[in-house]
């Protein structure tokens, strides 16, 4: 499997894009930097989410649970364990939770999975709160580090790049090949000897591990970690909206949804704080009715239609480059 010229071009473009993104903290400060950090946070979360939910089309609401595990891991260990080790532990913890959820639900149909993940963050929050109130003395945890806003930004940006590289590697691997067959026809996949449940669980674990890392990297930003903020179910819903808004057929699709939605919610939170829920509700319904394949899907559709009008030969020449 060699790397094609087209892939080199994409790689060069990606490096330039990440390079430019890395310069943002040089120019931005204060509120702009805060928004920039939130944007990379959700960029990392949404791409990690799409890693699993894109090819399988399972809507995962477990994001907040994985995120909270990472957040909490740092809160618990920051005084005794090096930060890098905590990040690794967060990935492992989230992956273990993903494996448990996956083993319980991914053998069955998608509805069971959605329902299970819907309450997962709340469940973990209850268990953590119960354990802390009964076996430790305090419920909140302080996280004091030397990291400042721009460091968090760079770490999240690097993580987003890592998610993309992982996605690309998965695509070239046996797992990616298996996922494409499962996506086309699950029955065929199981008949040619693919362990469909196993492949899905593995992919869910990878996606969960990355989300756990995002949670860990953000703990220094909040300085104070407590169950309601770490396991905030809103994170899960917002990730779903942004990823679907952008489009989940390609790994970079969610990025198209993240930027406008973060800017919009920032504006709503500042101007009409009481209407946040209604805006999120309207966003869900708008996505289902107006952009079921995401904005990117719409654009690709439009390009396809334009090419078809320009003549079928032009379309045929472009196709192999895909």
């Amino acid at each position: 499997m060699s790397i094609t010229a087209n892939e080199y071009r994409t790689l060069a473009m990606a490096i330039v894009a990440f390079g430019l993104a890395a310069l943002v903290p040089q120019f931005a400060s204060g509120h702009t930097l805060t928004i920039a950090v939130t944007i990379v946070e959700y960029a990392a979360l949404c791409t990690a989410w799409t890693l699993f939910s894109g090819p399988t089309r399972y809507i995962s609401l477990a994001t907040a649970a994985f995120f909270g595990i990472g957040n909490y891991m740092v809160g618990l260990g920051i005084d005794t364990i090096p930060f890098a080790a905590l990040v690794a532990l967060s990935a492992v913890g989230a992956a273990i939770l993903a494996a448990l959820v996956g083993l319980a639900t991914l053998r069955l149909s998608g509805v069971y999975f959605v329902i299970f993940t819907l309450g997962l963050a709340e469940l973990v929050r209850q268990v953590v709160t119960w354990w802390q109130t009964n076996y430790t003395t305090k419920v909140g945890l302080y996280v004091f580090t030397d990291f400042r806003e721009q460091h968090v930004y760079w770490m999240l940006l690097a993580l987003t790049a890592a998610v993309f590289v992982t996605g690309w590697l998965i695509n070239r691997s046996r797992l990616g090949f298996a996922m494409r067959i499962i996506g086309n026809d699950e029955t065929v996949a199981s008949h040619v000897g693919i362990n469909t449940a196993g492949a899905k669980v593995l992919l869910f674990m990878i996606s969960g591990a990355f989300i756990g890392i995002v949670g860990a990297l953000l703990a220094p930003r909040y300085a104070y970690v407590q169950p309601p903020s770490a396991f905030n179910p809103m994170i899960s819903f917002q990730v779903v909206i942004m990823a679907l808004l952008g489009g989940t057929r390609r790994l970079w699709g969610p990025l198209v949804g993240v930027v406008p939605f973060i800017v919009l919610t920032d504006f709503i939170n500042a101007q009409f704080p009481d209407y946040t829920n209604i805006v999120i509700g309207v966003a869900f319904i708008a996505i289902v009715f107006l952009v079921p394949d995401g904005v990117l899907g719409r654009i690709e559709q439009a390009i396809g239609a334009m090419r078809a009008r320009a003549g079928p030969s032009a379309d045929a020449r472009e196709e192999p480059a895909e």
Binding site: I59, I115, T133, V240, I278, I280, A283, I285, V288
Partner: protein, 288 residues
């Protein structure tokens, strides 16, 4: 013993919520994740009717239930039916309806927060001790259980004994075949969705007589209802009743013996056991 009775009394209302959800999912094919918001709206309405207009919660059912029926009819006709019509497969409809009802969930929750705020609500209605088997319980819990039982029985008679009830069961089994025998499938689906919403609303107003409410508790009840429906088997009313009683019992046992903060853990434990051992429901038959 006291725990068991309290659990069973709570189970009556849970059964009603789950019946509403199973009608919506089994007949109208909509996985309604905004079901709990329906319940919360009804509970807050009952609170408002009682505290402001001084209307007895049992009588308030006569206002809340028809209102919920109309509201859910409109929701189905405006928001959800276009999705049913455009869906190419059952899987596509499932994803679309999940996302659309998430939208409804947040909109309903947002409106409730605007109107009532984020505080906790409860009111005192017939909160007098009532002797039962040598122990005393709140009379309101018995009223709520009795109300739920009457409504559930009425639903059963309607589905099993009347012509339209039979038509609805036919749609649940096979919408295409039901259409072939001159059943108006669209109308029956809309009716079932509205009826399901009305049942949940009835449960919400009964629950509000002894339960503390807030505007954002809907999701928790949606979770419980979904787990009851899965435990009982989709479309199985008898299974839903048994599962509801089991779930309420498990919750009450955990909250009174271990910690009230762990009720969701009890719910999940039952859910996991169901998924591992009987994913087709308590009375369901394994289909391979």
């Amino acid at each position: 013993m006291e725990i068991i009775i309290t659990g069973l009394l709570l189970g009556g209302t849970y059964a009603l919520i789950a019946m509403g959800l199973t009608l919506q999912y089994g007949v109208a094919r909509i996985m309604n994740l905004a079901n709990g918001e329906n319940l919360a709206v009804a509970g807050l309405s009952a609170f408002w009717l009682y505290t402001v207009l001084n209307i007895n919660p049992v009588l308030a059912l006569a206002i809340i239930v028809p209102a919920a029926f109309v509201l859910n009819w409109l929701i189905y006709a405006i928001v959800l039916r276009p999705l049913v019509d455009r869906a190419k497969s059952r899987g596509q409809l499932e994803v679309d309806s999940i996302l659309a009802t998430f939208g409804l969930l947040f909109i309903l929750q947002g409106v409730m927060l605007l109107v009532f705020g984020g505080g906790l609500f409860n009111y005192k209605f017939l909160n007098v001790p009532y002797e039962f088997l040598g122990r005393s319980y709140g009379l309101n819990r018995f009223i709520a259980f009795g109300g739920a039982a009457v409504i559930a029985l009425a639903l059963y008679v309607f589905l099993a004994r009347t012509r339209y009830g039979t038509a609805i069961r036919a749609v649940a089994v096979d919408p295409v075949a039901a259409g072939l025998v001159a059943i108006d499938v669209k109308r029956a689906s809309t009716f079932a969705f509205a009826l399901g919403g009305a049942l949940t609303a009835a449960a919400g107003s009964l629950l509000s007589t002894f339960y503390t409410f807030n505007a954002s508790m809907g999701v928790l009840f949606t979770m419980k209802a979904l787990i009851i429906v899965i435990m009982g088997g989709v479309g199985d009313v008898r299974g839903a009743v048994v599962a509801a009683l089991l779930l309420a019992l498990a919750e009450t046992v955990v909250s009174s013996l271990i910690d009230p903060g762990l009720t969701l853990a009890a719910t999940y434990a039952l859910f996991v056991l169901t998924l591992i051992f009987r994913p087709e429901g308590i009375f369901g038959r394994r289909v391979t």
